[in-house]
Symmetry: C2
Subunit: 330 residues, 2 copies
Amino acid sequence: MPNHEDHYRGKRVLITGGAGFVGSNLARRLVGLGAEVLVVDSLIDDYGGNLFNLDGVTDRVRVNIADVRDQHGMNFLVRGQDIIFNLAGQVSHIDSMRDPQTDLDINCRAQLSLLEACRRNNPEVKVVYASTTQIYGKASALPVTETMDRHPIDVNGINTLAGEEYHTVYSNVYGMRAGSIRLTRTYGPRMLVKHNRQTALGWFIRLALDGDQIQVFDGTQQRDYTYIDDVVEAFLLAGASEAVNGQVFNLGGTQPVALLELIDTLTKVAGSGGYTVVPFPEERLRIDIGDFYTDYSLITATLGWRPTIGLPEGLQRTVDFYRKYRAHYW
Amino acid sequence: MPNHEDHYRGKRVLITGGAGFVGSNLARRLVGLGAEVLVVDSLIDDYGGNLFNLDGVTDRVRVNIADVRDQHGMNFLVRGQDIIFNLAGQVSHIDSMRDPQTDLDINCRAQLSLLEACRRNNPEVKVVYASTTQIYGKASALPVTETMDRHPIDVNGINTLAGEEYHTVYSNVYGMRAGSIRLTRTYGPRMLVKHNRQTALGWFIRLALDGDQIQVFDGTQQRDYTYIDDVVEAFLLAGASEAVNGQVFNLGGTQPVALLELIDTLTKVAGSGGYTVVPFPEERLRIDIGDFYTDYSLITATLGWRPTIGLPEGLQRTVDFYRKYRAHYW
């Protein structure tokens, strides 16, 4: 098997959501591998896009500010690309309940537009879609495998699942080279820490670094967390493989961790902040999914991927990053 | 348990898609039960709506021509209703692949709009959504139960599944009284027979009555068929029960039938038409789901529903109807 990293040398790669957390880390890595990277990002306020995420590589990536909902723009931008990492999304579960139609526009309508644009203008392009393990809802058994029931608990989960299924159907029906990766809780440098509507962990990191108290509901919930470099590696492997077409793969963490242990590790690594455990508020308990962690053996067997960075090291790197670049993220 | 039919006397009932096949049959029955029926239908060309479907009851139902995509109209129309049978949909799988965005608008956007309209303007209303067993895709085992994997094979299946899941999530998160019924192949008087893009059976009925040859691919595929009166009964039971909130239920047929047996029965009942068996064309085989029939024991246990009309009788009634009213459907 040729090294998957060699696959990207000289390749034209489009990353939707390329100024966001995962997209920008992927873009930075691809630049190092010699790819011609085109970042498309809408830089919507309060979403994850941040041009500082591309600091240091801006002379080696092309940045095109555009919204994936702009069908005409996307029709043009997909042309000539070899690989599309399709990461643009509305990812706040809270926002999806407050404004379900915007979530639908970004996570369903724009995904259909992108796939139609590829089908008509670049049918040979490789597409890797960033889905999420949140589409499963409550785990019907642990660890969660790809064949288990998916019962999304909010509008964002429903729409992201539809976005994933469009990729599967376009692969099955039209023979497009599209597949999906279901990200579980991803953390690391360049994640959004401005507000608490996207990820709890990003917000906890901010609180810890600000020396504030983290409020934990219950705290015994087991979850898995993947460090960003491991997630980037999964995308690189998937983008270089034909075995992912029409398929979906769970990512996962090195091991399940109780929320309280996560926060304890975080505050120790940060050397600041603290936490208090409080009972679950009724309205949060209603949408909580309890313990959740994945079985990622399918992607290990298919692509050789497994998580390599444990929580203490990953959190240390993350805390170091925000200490240094705090001004650009707070 | 009070008779569920009594439940509807004097009740205000809104039926979206109420001039369509299932909607109009439901409206006719509800009128007989003493309900105040408001039919909302867009009467889009080539969809299932047909005002003749309401012939004979037009003085006892209120018909409001409106598209469920018209959010302002729906905001107003849901007010004051006791029960909404939410049946409006784009149901052609072929059309959904040719024009996926229109399918999305009707089957996702409009469903979210309707649920938001109810949440804001009539949060106590009962909603029963017409989903479809086609969301399962290929059966992972037979008969298909509600907990089995759902892998829609086209855009229509993906979007209808999302529409169903919105109803589940709005029930779970907001406490709305919404639930879904997954219809399997439904047939009977007032089904669309104008073209072959909605249902194969409707088209076969037309061909048989026209004395034409029906072309059958393979013919050994086992499927289940539900006669319209049985489907109407399921909606009446669901609309009168609190046990359906947040739940989904399969419907089914009296027994699985091979396609060839169905067509043989049809041509005998019709006394006209014939059939030829041909091999599966490659592009159709790719999206064919093979054998498919449901386990409907959950709705039997919960609501006491089971199918009562077998295929020979159901087809006879259907053929008789179209012989008599052919001019309004051809």
